[in-house]
């Protein structure tokens, strides 16, 4: 029996992932900002086979509620086997260039709130000595590009934080998974033009489920991004800075 905490549970990737766990009979705590959305997601997952399900409405930037949130989730489910952090926004790069306030807000949502949650989750999972902490980062964090370096920088912070955390928690038997999706066709990216490398959230969800089950450390989804990003990272900065990416 699996007991899973999902933060950002109304996001498209989180919903698709939760459906796989629900169909397998997992128990879930759904956390998100909008209680109405959480209710719709919870109904869906209950029909699909979730054993127990609870929702908690919370804005990711309410840092002082994070520790309590994890304790509450443990109380509800009688323990936690996994946590998936899936919340995030796609900042408007141009607007961020003109406004530090916007940039800071996006760092709070996409990086700091994740780091705060991870701090509490890490301690709680380290004590119990097992479990999975999975976080959705992005290929955008592998290299900064002019078109979305604010978003990329928040994801780079999360990726690096997770590397260290994985190193620290390895000894205690806690599995830390970094998920790096390429572009996914979700409401978050609704405004962007779509190319052939775009995938549906279900594809990423199936990859996340497999990676949690097989205790992968880092997973690119779909896998082709693993190859593509080796190429992107290998371009010398001298050349990269001249490219319009």
């Amino acid at each position: 029996m699996e007991r899973i905490l999902i933060i950002g549970a109304a996001s498209a990737i989180a919903q698709a992932t939760a459906r796989i766990f629900a169909a397998a009979g997992a128990s879930l705590i759904l956390v998100g900002r909008d209680p109405e959305k959480l209710r719709a997601v919870a109904e869906d997952l209950r029909v699909r086979g979730a054993r127990r399900i609870e929702t908690i409405a919370l804005d990711a930037r309410e840092y002082d509620r994070h520790q309590g949130l994890i304790e509450e989730a443990r109380r509800f489910l009688g323990g936690l086997d996994a946590a998936l952090i899936a919340h995030g926004t796609l900042p408007d790069q141009k607007a961020c260039e003109a406004s530090f306030d916007l940039t800071r807000r996006d760092f709070e949502t996409n990086a700091l709130s994740v780091i705060s949650l991870l701090t509490h989750l890490a301690n709680s999972f380290e004590r119990q000595g097992y479990g999975t902490i999975a976080v959705i980062s992005s290929v955008a964090g592998d290299r900064g590009r002019q078109s979305n370096y604010v978003y990329g920088a928040t994801k780079a912070a999360v990726t690096t934080f997770l590397q260290g955390l994985r190193n620290r928690l390895h000894r205690s038997g806690v599995h830390v998974l970094t998920v790096k999706p390429g572009p996914v066709d979700t409401p978050m990216t609704a405004g962007l033009p779509k190319g052939f490398l775009w995938v549906r959230p279900e594809v990423v969800a199936a990859g996340i489920y497999r990676a949690i089950k097989s205790h992968k450390d880092v997973v690119y989804l779909p896998w082709v991004w693993y190859v593509l990003m080796i190429g992107v990272r290998a371009i010398p900065e001298k050349v990269f800075k001249r490219m319009s990416l």
């Binding site: 109405e36 959305k37 719709a40 997601v41 109904e43 869906d44 029909v47 699909r48 066709d185 409401p187 609704a190 033009p193 779509k194 775009w198 549906r200």
Partner: protein, 437 residues
């Protein structure tokens, strides 16, 4: 993704789209009174009922959640963007089935209601709308209505087969039917001419739940109207279980620059298909999926018709003159030099549709694909409309891209009742075309 076309690829229009994701939110409707909206499901209707040139589509595929399921009585409530394929994946292992399934399972619940779709079992189960117990409608004004035969019955009737014009369907409650196995016991009978094809088709409906006939539209002379009748019944619980592995079907991976569907290639394929079947095949147990969803076997099969797309003429003709009309239409396709690439016959029974503008009515359903929309085909189909009007038939809006306002108003005399209940901010390319003065 990001593309909004109909299945036939004709016509193409300029339109924008917004996505609906949550049923508690109001519609994203602007103040500009001259912009029309139209709900969009999975784009499997062929012509222009799912298009809204110059307007805005409300893409409902994000409304894809289940809401409640009663496993004792087989009642499923789900959001309107859920695909029938997803419902089947969920209910079949639990011993339930959708009572009415069109030739593709990749349609949304909202789309199935808006076109009041039918299946190969119309004489037994009628249309999809007969199995819809209630649904919620959201109007551009923000008003919400629960509709059922008892509650808001006018809206219930207008929305079933209402082409998405009465508002956005947010969710629906569907009555499922029991099955004892996902297996269907099927047979194929071949018929050397139209006479025998009709006999087999009608005779099969007495003993089989699912019946459809394929016609070789290019066969001439003695062979005119030869074809195959496919028929099947749900297997009982004593039947062996077939493995239901994930099948990967064929796929047309890209848009072809020219269509390979030409008279010679159709003739070749038709002959191979016809001759490959003996007089009467042995009964065979098969999974319901490949039997019911012929169209889904090749993913992107519509791309075979090339960049110009294709037209389908799908009509219903009263039984008394069914054979004569089909014979006349088949003859015209050959003499006018506009061969049809695919012909399908089904029987419609007398179970009434709840919808105001539902297409099925008792008689013979006849569908013809044409790999072109050039002026010759257009003239031919106008001629078909003339034959059909005098025979008392009707054309299926979900397949149409070309019928005239006069023809439409003749087939659907109650169209004005739908017009009165149409959401004032909703319209479609189809509706503007067929209601033109």
């Amino acid at each position: 993704m990001g593309q909004y076309e109909s299945w036939g690829g004709y016509p193409r229009v300029r339109q924008s789209a917004v996505r609906l994701g949550w049923r508690h939110l109001p519609l994203p409707v602007s103040g500009d009174q001259h912009r029309f909206y139209l709900p969009f499901g999975n784009g499997r209707s062929y012509g222009d009922i799912c298009l809204n040139g110059g307007g805005i589509l409300l893409d409902a595929r994000g409304l894809d959640r289940f809401i409640a399921f009663d496993p004792e009585n087989g009642i499923l409530r789900c959001e309107a963007g859920v695909l029938l394929s997803h419902i089947l994946d969920f209910v079949v292992p639990r011993g339930w089935f959708l009572p009415v399934l069109p030739g593709t399972k990749f349609v949304t619940v909202g789309g199935a209601i808006a076109s009041d779709v039918h299946g190969k079992n119309h004489p037994r189960e009628g249309t999809f709308g007969r199995h819809v117990r209630r649904f919620e409608l959201l109007h551009s004004s923000g008003e919400r209505r629960i509709c059922s035969p008892e509650e808001n019955p006018d809206w219930f009737r207008a929305t079933i087969g209402g082409l998405g014009l009465t508002g956005v369907i947010l969710w629906a409650e569907i009555a499922l039917r029991r099955i004892h196995s996902p297996t269907v016991l099927t047979e194929t009978v071949s018929a050397p001419n139209l006479e025998r094809l009709f006999e087999h088709l009608l005779d099969s409906c007495l003993r089989f739940e699912y019946v459809a006939a394929w016609i070789d539209c290019l066969a001439r002379g003695r062979d005119r109207g030869r074809g195959l009748v496919f028929r099947g019944n749900h297997a009982g619980d004593d039947s062996p279980t077939l493995s239901r592995g994930a099948r990967r079907g064929l796929r047309v991976p890209l848009d072809l620059p020219v269509s390979p569907v030409k008279e010679a290639s159709i003739r070749l394929v038709n002959s191979v298909v016809y001759l490959a079947h003996g007089k009467l095949s042995c009964p065979r147990l098969t999974d319901y999926d490949p039997f019911l969803f012929e169209l889904d076997r090749i993913e992107g099969s519509n791309r075979l018709y090339g960049p110009g797309g294709f037209l389908q003429y799908h009509c219903v003709v009263p039984l008394e003159c069914g054979k004569a009309v089909v014979e006349e239409m088949l003859g015209l396709t050959l003499t006018q030099g506009t061969p049809s690439s695919l012909g399908v016959l089904k029987a419609f029974g007398s179970l009434p549709s709840p919808g105001l503008l539902s297409f099925p009515r008792p008689g013979i359903s006849f569908a013809l694909d044409f790999p072109s929309h050039g002026p010759r085909v257009m003239r031919l189909l106008d001629e078909f409309d003339g034959i059909l009007s005098s025979a008392g038939g009707a054309v299926y809006p979900a397949k149409d891209a070309r019928m005239s306002p006069a023809a439409f108003k003749g087939y659907y005399p109650r169209w004005e009742a739908l017009e009165t209940l149409r959401d004032p901010r909703f319209s479609s390319t189809f509706w503007r075309r067929v209601t033109k003065e």
